[in-house]
Symmetry: C2
Subunit: 196 residues, 2 copies
């Protein structure tokens, strides 16, 4: 089965609607999705940025919140601005990395959607270990076992390697989609084109 | 007749496909388009940028060129990278400002489409007065009369005022669309949503 790679960062705003629809959109076309969490912080640091570009450019940031609100309303998704923005996403990314990437309704996909929903739907702090443990539990995982795996050196290295791989593909933001022929598509707006 | 305002900058890459389709897309919904040329340079200068963000972020720039090429192919538009990028756009913007904004097939729209086509379809230098004069002539305008009007203080001031107005609406990039109820939409990808 052909698969596209869905590269996402838990702090990324437009990754929220993309994560919520990528599975169904791909399934309609008979395509599988590989879930690839990575970190944008090292990508931004290389440009000298210490925070989200939406904070560095206030007019663009104000527009993005309004546009994201419209996008969520159109999709019937709840929406709340997380505070602070961006959220520290490394703990959630390590957990997602530790979970198996076994398809559209697999462990990694279910946890990742729950994180986005908590962060941008309920405004919860996804840097909070209790919040993350609660999400794991709600999705039927053992929070203690998964957290132990998530904080193991092996997982930390796997996340760093994923971030390096993203950069090697020319990925500079999230969400990004990479097709088997190496084409890159950036943004929730390009999800359907990537699948087509 | 309801009208949306189409804010564009001649150096802006995604303003090319937007300019080529905004008239027809609006007409299909019985909506008129007001053409609003402005300059992004002062907007970028405020952020400390001296060139296009696509040059400041090479990975994003490389992606944009590939994405724009795909977009143009899908629309059946010719595509060439202008060299240098970004082009100096002030002379073209002053001419567009000097021409009457009289609807989808009016003077300003016809000249503006010709500029984008020359720049991103044929790779011509739109900072070159001879290129601009040629475009004016090809579209049935008197190059001498229009150029005289374009370089008058009144026109320079009108373009500065348009740029100030764009910023006052929170516009930070091009193309942008503003609906009569004050909603802002950014990017060629949001043209249809703006019209809807």
């Amino acid at each position: 089965m052909t698969a596209i790679k869905f590269w996402y960062e838990f702090a990324s705003t437009y990754s929220y609607p993309a994560a919520m629809r990528v599975g169904e959109a791909a399934k309609e076309k008979g395509i599988d999705v590989r879930w690839r969490p990575f970190l944008l912080r090292p990508v931004f640091a290389e440009l000298g940025w210490t925070t989200s570009p939406f904070n560095l450019q206030p007019a663009k940031g104000a527009y993005m919140w309004r546009d994201l609100e419209r996008t969520c309303r159109r999709m019937g998704l709840p929406f709340r601005c997380p505070d602070p923005f961006p959220q520290h996403s490394v703990a959630a990314a390590r957990i997602a990395t530790a979970l198996a990437d076994d398809g559209a309704d697999g462990a990694r996909a279910r946890f990742s959607r729950a994180v986005y929903r908590a962060e941008f739907g309920d405004g919860l702090a996804i840097s909070d270990q209790n919040v993350l443990a609660g999400l794991l539990e709600a999705k039927g995982f053992d929070p203690f076992a998964v957290t132990a795996q998530a904080t193991a050196d092996e997982t930390k290295q796997a996340l760093r390697a994923a971030t390096d791989e993203a950069r090697s593909h020319g990925i500079f933001g999230a969400p990004s989609f990479r097709t088997p022929d190496g084409e890159l598509f950036w943004g929730n707006d390009r999800l359907d084109e990537a699948i087509d």
